[in-house]
């Protein structure tokens, strides 16, 4: 009997890892880069004779953000509501539609060309029409966020569901498995890494969609506040809006990435991240 080999991939002791590959470095490196960037920016605005109307100092942006915290929070809630709802709608429609297209050739032939054509329309171009249809309220922004973020979810679902190893499908069928069981036990779990790829791309697009909608017509939200501040030449507040928007987008992206880590721990990409963190 062969003695079982030592399993590969068991995490090695972190002490032996070369400097710069420890787990903490995955936070340290971007932190250093960000701090350096902002330091250069700060120095440039202080000693570079740049008008604060064109580029305010980061410290000033930060104090403005703190001064305007209540309004920024209120506007953030509106914008976040729009892009999260738009994104959820995109997932709720993109995932089943992708599955239908994989499983039904007639549905694929009927809808796929139309969906691709729709995707090539710049969403900013149809945003005014959607506002005419749905009014200047929240729903028009939700719909624009949906329209801009649904395509990557659908396409990546299709790619994921089609990328099963044929043998794994044969195997489940040889055990008397139904098409639903093949989907549940093979195709769907196998598609999850691709689906999360699509969801992550979509999460950033949904934020863009909500802002585009607010730019076209609205009376609330971060996009609205940004336009108002810009009209009043309050460059600091404009930057404060951008800062908050960036933080919101990042938080949303990382929330989905955290979900991915729970759902697809087994996948190559997760393993590589783990191996890098443990210094292998």
């Amino acid at each position: 009997m062969a003695t079982p080999a030592v399993p590969i991939g068991s995490p090695g002791p972190a002490e032996l890892a070369p400097l710069g590959t420890r787990a903490s470095s995955s936070y340290l490196y971007p932190l250093i880069a960000t701090v350096v960037l902002f330091a250069i920016w700060e120095l440039a605005t202080r000693f570079g004779n740049i008008s604060p109307l064109i580029l305010p100092a980061p410290s000033k942006i930060l104090t403005t953000a703190i001064d305007h915290f209540p309004v920024l929070l209120r506007m953030s809630a509106v914008t976040a509501y729009e892009f999260v709802l738009g994104f959820l709608l995109a997932a709720a429609i993109g995932l089943p539609l992708g599955a239908l297209i994989v499983y039904s050739r007639p549905i694929e032939m009927t809808f796929y060309p139309m969906l691709v054509a729709f995707q090539t329309i710049p969403k900013a171009a149809i945003a005014p029409i959607l506002i005419v249809w749905l009014g200047t309220g929240i729903m028009s922004k939700v719909l624009i966020a949906f329209a801009i973020s649904f395509f990557p979810i659908m396409v990546d679902t299709i790619i994921g569901l089609r990328s099963s190893q044929p043998e794994t499908v044969y195997l489940v069928r040889s055990m008397g498995g139904t098409p639903y069981q093949v989907f549940r036990h093979v195709r769907f779990p196998n598609a999850l890494p691709a689906i999360f790829g699509g969801l992550k791309v979509a999460s950033t697009l949904a934020v863009i969609g909500a802002i585009v909608g607010e730019f076209v017509s609205s009376d609330t939200g971060l996009g609205y506040l940004l336009l108002v501040a810009n009209g009043e030449l309050d460059t600091r507040l404009v930057f404060a809006c951008v800062l908050v928007l960036t933080l919101l987008g990042l938080a949303f992206f990382f929330a989905i990435e955290a979900m991915e880590k729970v759902c697809v721990r087994w996948h190559v990409s997760a393993r590589q991240a783990e191996a890098a963190a443990s210094g292998e």
Binding site: M1, A2, T3, P4, A5, P7, I8, G9, S10, Q165, E167, T168, Y170, L171, V172, R173, S174, M175, G176, G177, Q181, H185, V186, P189, N190, L192, V264, W266, H267, V268, R271
Partner: protein, 274 residues
């Protein structure tokens, strides 16, 4: 030796029905973009219950297609396959399959991969867990139940795939070049392991390989297929004592079987020597 094989199957026909009967089977793959391809042409043979039969042949001769036909996963263009008393038109209920690629589900642990069949058939997995643990122990994987496939070596993964096929105690085991992707040392070990497992309860096995010596080492009978379209070129009964040892491969009796199969290959114009 051909005559001997016939004598044996005739005898089997008198005593009991053969376990698997393949009668005039033909498979043509047709595609809209390419010319139709005849992979298997008029193949007929029988496998007795408890017999270990190997099919060897040059690559692309349709031996994997033949196994897929026996599995019931793809339909034959012509002819019929009968397992026990029923004609195959869907996968036989008591079947185990091992492919060249281990086809482990990466999101399941080793134990959950072995238990896949219980989940698919809606059986109580707690009843099968002791069997699964025992199978893993018998193949040298005790203690690896909670590992994920990516943490295992190629040989260990393939052993998990074999355990998975054996979970339901199948009466027919189909193996399509299961050790083809393994290194030579691991492959020899796997041959020994497979023989040992097979000797414990003598399942009916159809084993596809391109290795002549592997076929002779493992089998009761070796069927040699011609290049595409695959036909049966020889049916050779291997009359060597069991359990067979690796050292037997150097003995003259073993060598005669290997030479005979190689001669059949050479008669196709393959394996040219200057």
């Amino acid at each position: 030796m051909r005559t001997k094989g016939h004598a044996r199957s005739e005898l089997a026909a008198v005593v009991a029905e053969p376990f698997v009967r393949i009668v005039g089977v033909e498979k043509v793959f047709s595609s809209r973009t390419r010319a139709a391809l005849k992979a298997v042409d008029n193949v007929s043979f029988e496998i007795a219950s408890g017999e270990f039969v190997s099919i060897v042949g040059p690559s692309g001769c349709g031996k994997s297609t033949l196994m897929m036909l026996v599995s019931g996963l793809i339909p034959a263009t012509r002819g019929e396959i009968v397992i026990e008393t029923s004609r195959v038109n869907r996968p036989y209920a008591n079947l185990g399959i091992v492919f060249q690629r281990d086809a482990l589900l990466e999101w399941r642990t080793v134990l959950d991969n072995v238990l896949l069949q219980a989940d698919i058939r809606h059986l109580d997995r707690t009843k099968f867990t002791p069997t699964a643990v025992d199978l893993l122990a018998r193949t040298g994987l005790a203690g690896f139940e909670k590992y994920y496939p990516w943490e295992l070596s190629g040989g260990m993964r393939q052993r998990v795939a074999i355990c998975r096929a054996l979970l339901g105690n199948p009466s027919l085991l189909l193996m399509d070049e299961p050790f083809g992707a393994l290194d030579a040392m691991t492959r020899e070990q796997m041959n020994l392991d497979l023989q040992r497992i097979w000797l414990q309860d003598r399942k009916t096995v159809l084993f596809i390989t391109h290795s002549i010596s592997e076929a002779v080492f493992l089998s009761d009978r070796v069927i040699v297929m011609s290049p595409r379209p695959g036909r049966i070129a020889a049916d050779i009964t291997i009359d060597l004592p069991r359990p067979r040892k690796l050292s037997m491969r150097e003995e003259s009796s073993f060598g005669r079987y290997v030479a005979k199969i190689r001669e059949t290959f050479q008669s196709f114009g393959l394996l040219k020597e200057d």
